[in-house]
């Protein structure tokens, strides 16, 4: 029985680990604007993330090597440093978006503007990272996974015309009123929301920290191959609720509160409580994850001691980098730039930087020196190459789209 519980916990944690402010916002925005015609983007992003998380997890379990050790070895010092700086900037943007998200979740409960919560949030996040054991952050993911399932439940309570929903999902088409560039900008933002660099760094470094070995491969594979797609289904459910409720109203989603509204209409205050808890836990856990990932990336690149389980005094540089990232993220939010905008920019730039992280992971997962008999099979390689091509196309297209559509206007 205990084993089933552990497996279930791992699963729910994976679901929670997948969904963050990026998924919440982009799914809400695109659902209200394009109904379900962008579902394919979430599917592509989810499968890509699953394929590469499994590879990164295998490298962590079999070779005991986290991502940024691999990046520096295989891309060399110069290209590795460029990749490191890109990831740190993205983690910073994502952290600012997450802190803004936590603030907005608290605003929904307390009716006090999110900006006033930000300093308190930064302190709480730093306290969690400095003192709380790794397990607690993991369980927080579990809370997210469970509470955000309310979006799927709400879907059944809403007056849903399943026919039109599935047809608009299966036959994606650009609505007449929208330009192609805007349609593909939001497709890129959805893919970027799933393929987030810090999740790969966090997933593989967390694996090494927890001391994954060949025997834990089953649990790791289950988490990625079942957990992450369920996270994708959750994103699709959020998009569906937004499509069913907000699209008929002709609303341009600009606030987290609007994303949660459909749940309230379907399930009332009880559903709302779950949604708000889900928002808070998703953004808080993702904030901790983004901060830790910056610490992991920099420390692993320079070869310093790294690890959440290490006391601050035994891994000083790691913890100081996390502190600096936290402070910069908080300052970015306090500039009162709308967190939803930060999220969109973070997600889209994330999509642009993905190939930098994916290429070394794909290469190492094929290196017999590292993985011996656990190298990629034919299927993993085909999927790996297909999604590497997808991410390269996405990263080439992203910046022109971002400026052409002026942030998805």
């Amino acid at each position: 029985m205990k084993r089933i519980f552990a497996v279930a916990l791992g699963l729910v944690t994976a679901i929670g680990g997948f969904v963050d402010i990026g998924n919440l916002v982009t799914s809400g925005v695109t659902g209200a604007r394009f109904s379900m015609s962008l579902t394919w983007a979430i599917v592509v992003g989810t499968i890509g993330m699953t394929v590469y998380a499994e590879m990164a997890g295998r490298v962590a379990a079999v070779a005991g090597r986290p991502v940024f050790h691999v990046v520096r070895e295989r891309l060399g010092v110069r290209f590795g440093l460029f990749n490191l700086l890109a990831c740190c900037l993205l983690n910073l943007l994502t952290l600012a978006a997450e802190i803004g998200g936590i603030g907005m979740a608290l605003e929904l409960v307390s009716d006090v503007s999110y900006l006033l919560w930000v300093p308190l949030i930064a302190l709480a996040l730093w306290g969690a990272l400095w003192r709380l054991p790794f397990k607690v952050i993991e369980n927080l993911f579990g809370v997210i996974g469970l509470s955000l399932l309310v979006f799927i439940v709400a879907l059944f309570w809403l007056p849903v015309d399943w026919g039109s929903l599935t047809s608009s999902a299966l036959h994606p088409s650009v609505p007449p009123t929208e330009a192609y560039t805007t349609y593909f900008f939001y497709a890129v933002s959805l893919i970027g929301a799933c393929l987030v660099p810090y999740q790969i760094i966090f997933f593989s470094s967390g694996g090494v920290e927890e001391g994954w070995t060949r025997s834990s491969m089953f649990q790791m594979r289950l988490n990625t191959i079942v957990g992450f797609p369920l996270g994708g289904v959750l994103s699709i459910a959020i998009m569906a609720t937004s499509a069913v409720v907000l699209q008929p109203l002709g609303t341009d989603v600009g606030h987290l509160s609007q994303v949660g509204l459909p749940v309230a209409l379907a399930l009332g205050k009880v559903g709302l409580a779950f949604a708000i808890v889900g928002f808070f836990a998703a953004t808080f856990a993702a904030g901790a994850e983004a901060t830790l990932s910056t610490g992991y990336a920099v420390s692993q690149y320079f070869g310093w001691a790294w690890g959440k389980w290490l006391r601050p005094s035994s891994a000083p540089q790691f913890h100081v980098i996390c502190l600096i990232t936290m402070i910069l993220g908080t300052m970015l939010v306090l500039t009162t730039i709308d967190p939803i905008t930060i999220t969109l920019v973070a997600v889209v730039l994330g999509a642009a930087a993905i190939p930098l992280t994916f290429l070394p992971v794909l290469v190492i997962a094929n290196d017999r020196d590292y993985l011996g008999d656990q190298v990629n099979g034919r299927f993993a390689n085909v999927m790996g190459v297909v999604f590497l091509a997808v991410t390269v196309v996405v990263s080439v297209v992203t910046l022109p789209l971002l400026f052409w559509t002026r942030g998805g206007a």
Binding site: D111, V245, D338, R406
Partner: protein
């Protein structure tokens, strides 16, 4: 609650970039640009007002907590006022454009004041006031309907 006011003033300054950016501030030289701007403004205000309306109704049915409903309505009020501000900053190029702006001004102002009344009623938990404000929203929303198609 001075906390609220400070917070709202800061947030009001940071209206969603997507909305602001869509109405580029440069003066629109041609009538069709102005029509497009009118259409997007009408659509944006109608959408925002509709959300506020649905939230108020949900609140009165007990589906939304006070804090959540108030956040939704306050955000809607801020968005509408900033959209109107952006729209007013556009210089109508021709006489027809001035007339078009005239047609749009009345529903926009009605919606803006209705939203303010809604927010005040919500904060005072005045169910009748909320119902009145929601009713006050219905009429301008209908007049905005055709304005969303002008020039198409």
């Amino acid at each position: 609650m001075s906390l609220r006011v400070i917070g709202r003033r800061i947030v009001a300054g940071a209206v969603p970039l997507a909305l602001l950016v869509s109405g580029c501030a440069s003066p629109s030289p041609t009538m069709s640009d102005f029509q497009t701007k009118t259409r997007t403004t009408a659509r944006a205000v109608a959408g925002t007002a509709a959300v506020a309306q649905v939230s108020a109704q949900a609140w009165s049915r007990g589906q939304l907590t006070d804090a959540y409903a108030d956040t939704l309505v306050t955000e809607a009020e801020d968005d509408v006022s900033s959209i109107i501000q952006t729209y007013d900053s556009r210089q109508p190029p021709t006489a027809a454009a001035v007339a078009l702006k005239g047609r749009l001004d009345k529903p926009l102002q009605d919606i803006s004041s209705a939203l303010t009344d809604l927010r005040i009623a919500l904060r005072r938990n005045d169910r009748r006031g909320v119902a009145q404000a929601v009713a006050a929203l219905r009429q301008p929303l209908t007049t905005l309907g055709p304005l969303q198609q002008v020039g198409l």
